[in-house]
């Protein structure tokens, strides 16, 4: 009976057309927030009614880095930290496509931190989904630049004492035009934010706070994945437009979520075309992805 039920569920998975079913089962632990987040992205792509042929996903390395391998889109699993510049090159070559970077906190703001801020500064028209589980999970639970003060990890066995990044503040102060944060519990709002971010012209960031029960919760004795979801339920506060200086995440403290920033700015290619048209006049053909001879 239970076997039949499983079959029935998998046969009817509503997002099957967006997933590489030939790669399922995935490698993620049960209660990991990644499945929910991937599902929310699939929802967003459905809501947007865009041509999925024209969507590409780029990931770096880590648990979240594996997302590219499960989405049935043109998908690129690159090197640690370099998903963003790879995506930038892809976007500039194909500005007609939607390029989404889907990676983890360590990948994006530690080893890839420099690329993250500079790509935001240039306002490159890509969407970055940062799944923040407060820890390096793929390697077994080491401290991350997002680990809250006092939280334990395998390399902070007595607790962390380094100040973590406030990722939405980092993105906004670097030049992003759209910044939001949700937890893995906020599935519909997360999907809505993904859709907005993908539609937004410019560098958009959505941070997703996600449970890692195998490492973060276990090392900090916070219970199961379910306990973390309950924690998000009880301690998340939706505050759209919150002052980004007030939304840093402390250990087991309130998590401020919402859409924090949604502004208009010329994208990198807008600025390039506008500037060059001013310099070269009619001799300049606005760059739209072609090779210049059409």
């Amino acid at each position: 009976m239970s076997v039949e039920t499983t079959k029935q569920v998998s046969d009817e998975h509503p997002m099957e057309h967006l997933l590489r079913m030939d790669r399922i089962p995935h490698i993620w632990c049960s209660t990991c927030g990644l499945g929910t987040t991937v599902r929310a992205l699939a929802e967003a792509l459905e809501q947007l009614e865009i041509d999925h042929d024209k969507v590409a996903v780029v990931s770096g390395i880590g648990c979240t880095g594996r997302v590219a391998g499960y989405l049935k889109l043109d998908s690129f699993h690159t090197t640690h930290g370099r998903a963003v510049p790879f995506a930038m090159g892809l976007h500039i070559a194909r500005p007609d496509m939607k390029v989404i970077v889907f990676s983890g906190d360590g990948d994006l703001v530690s080893i890839g931190g420099n690329h993250f801020i500079h790509t935001a500064r240039r306002n490159i028209d890509i969407t970055v989904i940062c799944v923040n589980n407060f820890i390096y999970a793929m390697t077994g639970g080491q401290v991350a630049p997002t680990t809250p003060i006092r939280a334990r990890s395998k390399t902070t066995p007595y607790g962390n004492y380094e100040t973590p990044f406030n990722i939405p503040l980092l993105a906004a102060s670097s030049g992003a035009v759209y910044v939001a944060r949700w937890t893995a519990l906020h599935v519909r709002r997360m999907a809505m934010s993904f859709a907005e971010a993908i539609s937004k012209r410019g560098f958009s960031l959505v941070e997703v706070i996600a449970p890692c029960s195998t490492l973060y919760a276990r090392l900090n004795k916070l219970g199961t994945g379910l306990s973390l979801m309950k924690f998000y339920h009880d301690n998340s506060e939706i505050r759209h437009g919150a002052d980004l200086n007030d939304i840093a995440i402390d250990y087991q403290s309130k998590i401020v979520v919402g859409k924090f920033l949604d502004v208009e700015k010329p994208t990198y290619l807008d600025a390039l075309n506008h500037h060059n048209a001013g310099i070269f006049g009619d001799k300049y053909k606005p760059y739209g992805g072609g090779n210049g001879s059409d």
Binding site: D74, F76, L90, D96, N114, N291
Partner: protein, 384 residues
Amino acid sequence: MKADPQNVLTGAHYLDGNYAIAEGAIAAGCKFFAGYPITPSTEIAERVSRRFPLIGGIFVQMEDELASMAAILGASWGGKKSMSCTSGPGFSLMMENFGLGIMLETPCVLVNVQRGGPSTGLPTLPGQADMMQARWGSHGDYEVIALAPDSPQEGFELTIHAFNLSEKYRMPVLLMTDECVGHMTEKVIIPPPEEIELIERRYTDKKPGEAWPYQENELISPMLPVGEGYKFHITGLTHDYRGYPVINAEAQAENVDRLMAKVKENVDDLTWLEEKDVEDAEVVVVSYGISSRVVQPAIAKAREEGIKVGQIKMVTVWPFPEKRIRELAGKVKALIMVEMNYGQVYLEMDRCAAGRCETYICGHAGGTVHDPGSVYSTIKDAVK
């Protein structure tokens, strides 16, 4: 396919090597350049940034070389011919994603205008001491293609050749020049576009759903275009023909063997040697890049004295012309490698000579080209 006329500055020019490389890239159809300033390579980026706006190219000055290399891979998958240029310290940073380029089988060109090392070394002075880094700089087993121009004219021509090889073999190709060639100004003849033969990217003729990024039993698969519904996956992890990660020894052997076979099975096609007076030679001077010009007065002087000296210039340094060196080792008294390092490519030559002739390294730490006198002395030592 011929070069696009809008990209080619046909005529006789007076250019330094770096500008000539930039013109070669543009003539080859490069439309995406990501780079980070570093002496002595920066003039390539400067020239490209000046030339690109009116010919539909995009130049991006990146935050660092890690990003530069990643961005040219992304752009290549987006369908652009792409390149970057750098020098020693930046080359070290690029090794990470050079390996990704090898693994994903991504056409692109990377230029290293070599300076003295290690570390910051001699930013404004020449060296050839990154040759083994070019061969082995990224982790893991793989093969590379590296070309070495001896002049601005060759800088132009070999850059086009590098782009062609990168498309043909579906991999990053290295142009290993040096500060001396980069900053040397000479006459450069840029031919008319119809005389510039370009190899264009091979895309699959299969339909979405039937094509994989690496076709089974194909040494070099045609690429899949993005945005056309193929919905393919590629990864830097060890993978199968589908591009899907497979983490075991069998998949590793299959994957790495094929990456290496692309070059190893085509060494004859890739080998490009220019030989002079080798037939009757008892000593052959082997060199590449600027060193192959510096050796010429020494060889001429030795020949005037009746010493039978021949010369081999390696235009392609990697893959190493193993077959030819083995042949020669059975015929000559000595092989001399002249390079601006303490014997990097020499080690390959010595290995291939396998004790069948004497081998000499005429090298130094870099900072200047060789004194031809040192080459002459080495020739004299070799015929003693």
